[in-house]
């Protein structure tokens, strides 16, 4: 069944809620509607920046600056050292039980020697017990310091990067773009295919009590980004 049972609740004129709302909207927009909304939408003026001339090195520096500003730990590494960097981070933060998403590359699993792991498909209570989650990401936005997850290989279910208190995220330098519109364009196909996205800009935060910024109300209190410069 595609529509609500409440379509059955008819008003005095005999209309369902759907019919009534759409009829009112149609009456309100009488005379101002476009004959071809799609064509009119394409013609809308978009005078804002859609691409950027900055060099890759400049973008990586900007992204790092933004992430650090949010309280994220950024580690720059080469792909050859990635496994040992991840291992060191997990040790340093005493992460014993680690969530490893399906499709995680071998370089990451090599870092997990001697640690207990669980799959990202585990239930909420199990994920809640984990110390850390290791994940990749689809794209990152330098200007806003944003990591975008689209549930692709090595990224896991959404709950997996949410419940454990440490999120260790591997970001390839080639996936860094400058601007929000560039990231939106890159995610077009994923969204069209029905993927759920999570955009992360720093660890969970609140300023609700006397405007004092507190990290980590509900999401991971620590976010670490391993930025792989040759990948």
């Amino acid at each position: 069944m595609s529509r609500s049972d409440h379509d059955g609740n008819r008003d005095r004129g005999g209309a369902t809620a759907r019919e009534a709302v759409l009829r009112q909207v149609a009456a309100a927009t009488e005379g101002v509607r476009d004959d071809d909304p799609v064509a009119a939408h394409v013609r809308l003026k978009r005078g804002y920046r859609r691409n950027d001339e900055r060099t890759r090195e400049a973008l990586l520096d900007l992204l790092e600056e933004r992430l650090v500003d949010y309280g994220v730990d950024v580690i720059r590494t080469g792909s050859a050292e990635l496994a040992s960097v991840l291992s060191t981070e997990l040790d340093r933060r005493r992460a014993q039980l680690v969530v490893v998403p399906t499709g995680a590359p071998d370089a990451w699993t090599a870092a997990l020697d001697g640690r207990r792991t669980i799959a990202d498909g585990a239930g909420g209570l199990e994920l809640d017990e984990a110390d850390a989650t290791l994940s990749g990401c689809a794209v990152a936005i330098a200007e806003t310091g944003t990591i975008v997850l689209d549930g692709g290989p090595g990224q896991g279910r959404r709950a997996a990067t949410l419940l454990p208190d440490l999120h260790l995220c591997v970001l390839n330098a080639s996936d860094v773009v400058a601007l929000v519109p560039e990231a939106v364009a890159r995610m077009q196909l994923a969204v069209e295919s029905g993927a759920a996205l999570t955009w992360i800009s720093g660890p969970s935060a609140t300023s609700d009590i006397e405007l004092v910024r507190v990290a980590g109300v509900h999401g991971p209190r620590t976010l670490v980004v391993a930025l792989v410069h040759d990948a």
């Binding site: 529509r3 609500s4 049972d5 409440h6 809620a17 709302v21 009112q24 909207v25 149609a26 009456a27 309100a28 927009t29 101002v32 509607r33 476009d34 909304p37 939408h41 809308l44 003026k45 978009r46 005078g47 804002y48 909420g124 809640d128 936005i141 200007e143 806003t144 310091g145 944003t146 549930g151 279910r157 959404r158 709950a159 949410l162 929000v180 939106v184 364009a185 077009q188 969204v191 029905g194 993927a195 759920a196 996205l197 955009w199 992360i200 800009s201 660890p203 969970s204 935060a205 609140t206 300023s207 609700d208 009590i209 006397e210 405007l211 004092v212 109300v217 509900h218 999401g219 991971p220």
Partner: protein, 485 residues
């Protein structure tokens, strides 16, 4: 129909009470000042901020002009991705839909993401009638809920509460021993974290609002800071999203504009910590049932209004609150609505038109700061003036077709007086004599009759013993004498 169900005071009286609350005024001053400065910094650093604003306005106007088209497109897209779409003419209908869905789940508790729309329709109270507890999971909303109050700011709903008060609330609500909790904001947040984590893991039904909905892909966007939104959107089995029909956008691409406009205008951040996007249901990830409730509740009526319709462009950022000299002094409560500040002053009379709302368009100095910061360029001052015109014309004190109000007579007299220098000076002399009984400590107070409303809320300077014009004439005469010497 605003949440709470208590009878609100008119703005005028509530504002007078709020002005006497020193703690509230200090908090408001700090918060609005801090956010104002940050917002200016993060909007001015973008070379294309004005172009983004113009695009945001254009996209919203286009969507509103073709709203019927985009709503049916959204319905089809959400349905094709496994969601169920419901339509609600008004608050009662929307509440009934949610109540029936919750009843069908058999749950007695639902978790909620901060949502102004569900506050607007009073959903928590409606669920309570069925014995269902709606737990607010945003930290500030939780504080406000535990205190049994109403939010006082769109963005920081609990700014009227200090840390000691919050500690007291938490001790009681979480049943903690006083030794277990101090009043450090980080510790208070941690206490809320562990209390709510259990609720999230147990919850089977979640209720949310929506910041945006993409018509062609059926994608809902929810913007937040704390992660409670992500919890509600991914852990429970059933998700119910209540959304005003004006929140729809044509395409995914349009979000590239609003994901820049909203966080920078709202929390004055380059980007908010978490944004979730989902389209219907996703296999093996998140809720297995998704319900979208499309709410009209006065929106289509507002859309029919040629002057007022641009109000529907609003993306609920709260930038206009933080720059408003009235809001900064009285806070959110006097507006008697979940939508306070300048946007509330034009939104409430249009969406709900409660008796007290007629006063809201007057809660403004018409300084225009709200228009300047609005990310979708809503011309709030112009709409305010139009709303005032309607209040005056609809006023029962003004006999229909029969001539004039006292104000009309006064303004016509003023026009005659200002048109002639001799009449002006004569009027000034008269007023100087007439004002004497009302001057106290250099301020005009308690003017009689029709003028009393004016002097009640303003500190007026009396007309000076020697007005500018006579000073100027004497000065000129002296100068001539000196020149002749």
């Amino acid at each position: 129909m605003s949440g709470g169900g208590r009878i609100p005071l008119p703005f005028h009286d509530a504002a007078a009470l709020a002005l006497r609350d020193g703690q509230l005024r200090r908090n408001l001053g700090t918060v609005t000042g801090a956010i104002r400065a940050k917002r200016t910094a993060v909007t001015e650093e973008l070379p294309d901020w004005q172009a983004l604003r113009a695009a945001g306005k254009a996209i919203k106007d286009h969507t509103l002009r073709n709203l019927g088209h985009y709503l049916t497109q959204l319905e089809a897209a959400v349905t094709s991705r496994g969601g169920t779409v419901h339509w609600a003419r008004d608050a009662t209908e929307a509440n009934r839909i949610v109540r029936e869905l919750v009843a069908a789940s058999g749950e007695r508790e639902v978790v909620k993401v901060k949502s102004m729309t569900t506050d607007e329709i009073g959903l928590n109270e409606a669920l309570a009638e069925d014995g269902v507890v709606a737990i607010e999971t945003d930290l500030a909303e939780l504080i406000v809920q535990l205190a049994g109050e109403e939010p006082s700011h769109i963005l920081v709903p609990a700014i009227h509460k200090n840390r000691a008060e919050i500690r007291e609330l938490f001790l009681r609500a979480f049943e903690l021993d006083p030794s277990e909790l101090n009043d450090d904001p980080a510790d208070l947040a941690a206490a809320a974290r562990s209390f709510l984590r259990e609720r999230f893991l147990e919850a089977r039904v979640a209720v949310s609002g929506a910041n945006f909905a993409v018509a062609d892909t059926g994608t809902i966007a929810i913007v937040e800071s704390e992660g409670n939104g992500r919890m509600c959107l991914t852990l429970p089995e059933t998700l119910i999203t209540v959304m005003g029909i004006e929140k729809v956008l044509p395409s995914w691409r349009d979000l590239e504009v609003f994901l820049q406009l909203l966080p920078r205008s709202s929390t004055a951040e380059r980007m908010n910590p978490y944004t979730s996007f989902f389209s219907g249901t996703t296999d093996g990830d998140g809720p297995s049932a998704f319900h979208l409730v499309l709410l009209d509740a006065g929106r289509s009526r507002t859309l029919a209004d040629e002057v007022g319709r641009e109000t529907l462009r609003c993306i609920r950022c709260s930038a206009c609150l933080n720059v408003c000299p009235i809001y900064e002094r009285v806070g959110g409560h006097p507006y008697g609505s979940v939508y306070p500040g300048p946007i509330g002053a034009i939104l409430n009379p249009q969406l709900r038109g409660a008796p007290n709302d007629a006063e809201l368009p007057y809660a403004s100095t018409l300084c225009g700061a709200c228009y300047e910061v609005c990310p979708v360029a809503i011309d709030i001052p112009t709409i305010l003036i139009e709303m005032r015109r309607r209040v005056v014309e609809g006023s029962p004190r003004r006999p229909r077709r029969l001539s004039a109000t006292v104000e009309d007579v006064a303004l016509r007299a003023a026009a005659r007086i200002f048109a002639s220098p001799s009449r002006y000076e004569a009027a000034q002399r008269l007023a100087r004599l007439g004002q004497a009984p009302f001057v106290r400590k250099g301020v005009l107070r308690n003017l009689p009759g029709q003028l009393s409303g004016w002097s009640e809320s303003r500190d007026l300077r009396p007309i000076p013993a020697r007005p500018f014009r006579s000073w100027w004439r004497e000065r000129a005469a002296t100068a001539v004498e000196e020149g002749e010497k």
